[in-house]
Amino acid sequence: MDKKQFIEEVVSLKGRLINYAFRMLSNTEETEDAVQEAFMKLWDMRYKLYQHSNIPALSFQVTKWICLNTIRRRKRHDEHLDDIMEIRNSTVFPEKELNEKESVEIINQIIERLPDLQKSILKMKHIEGMDIDEIALLTGSNLSAIRMNLSRARKKIQELYFKIQHYDKSI
């Protein structure tokens, strides 16, 4: 399925998916994010979408799964602190500055903890080489929503990585 077909057959479901997600989440911002993420997941599956007999039904199923994940995530508190401690404890730090391999491992773990939506945006931007406009088009979102989530992902990587480095040096 190419971009044009994807926009016609999948992104065109946006209104219905928004209504569906909002009934589960009752929150406008989370609903927008959930549907955006659903489109990203479906885009990720684009080469196999025609194997499914009912693409709208699949789109609703993916959206439902993401909404349930969103509800589950709401229960997590003090996420940052827990993450930092968990990452730090899972890695053996030498007292000297982190070497290249250790840095890669830490950033891998930080990305592991990012919300799926942010991971998907990073993938579309940094691996598939799409610009913000293309991502917005494929997810039926506006530019600022995509930019905001890209920014959140990059800032989170920076913030946690710097905190870990600082923690390491203070030992």
Binding site: K41, D44, M45, K48, Q51, H52, L58, Q61, V62, W65, L98, E100, S103, V104, I107, N108, I111, E112, K119, S120, L122, K123, H126, I127, G129, D131, I132, I146, R147, M148, N149, L150, S151, R154, K155, I157, Q158, Y161, F162, Q165
Partner: protein, 160 residues
């Protein structure tokens, strides 16, 4: 030099706000590959090296979870197992239900006689008998007709 670093700092801010173009991102990657970087910017080096070289290894693997929504292949063992369970349940129902003394398979069944519902089993029996008699009569007629046809062809054959 300071001016050049000022430009990099601006690019850094743009990058973390999600505002950089691909060209600007390439400038950042290139800058952080160099050996001489001012002290206050060194801490960014690993992050940009990661974005340039390692992020694809991580996200390509990570996002393959989309397979979760692919159609699963048919699991023959599972189908056989559940078919067996279903057959066993049907067998139990088939064996046990008729032995219940109050069991009546025709409960709630009715017939319509001249547009009126009747739950009376005797009405149903008399109508059934009438229908059977009619069927027998028609069958007899057909038998007679068959005999007549046979006779006709026998005669034709003899003539030929």
């Amino acid at each position: 030099m300071t001016k050049a670093y000022k430009y990099i700092e601006e690019l850094l801010e743009k990058f973390f706000n999600g505002d950089t173009t691909f060209e600007e991102e390439r400038e950042l990657y290139y800058f952080f590959q160099q050996s001489k970087i001012p002290e206050h910017l060194k801490r960014y080096r690993s992050i940009f090296n990661y974005f340039e070289d390692n992020i694809s290894d991580k996200l390509d693997i990570d996002l393959s979870y989309s397979e979760k929504w692919q159609k699963k292949p048919l699991n023959i063992k599972r189908i056989i197992y559940f078919s067996g369970v279903a057959a066993a349940i049907l067998l139990i129902v088939y064996v046990l239900v008729p032995f219940r003394s109050d069991y009546n398979p025709y409960t709630e069944s009715y017939i319509v006689v001249n547009g009126i519902k009747s739950y009376n089993i005797h009405d149903a029996e008399s109508i059934e008998n009438e229908i059977l008699a009619e069927i027998n009569r028609r069958e007899a007629e057909l038998d007679n007709l068959e005999i007549e046809i046979d006779k006709y062809f026998d005669i034709r054959t003899e003539h030929d």
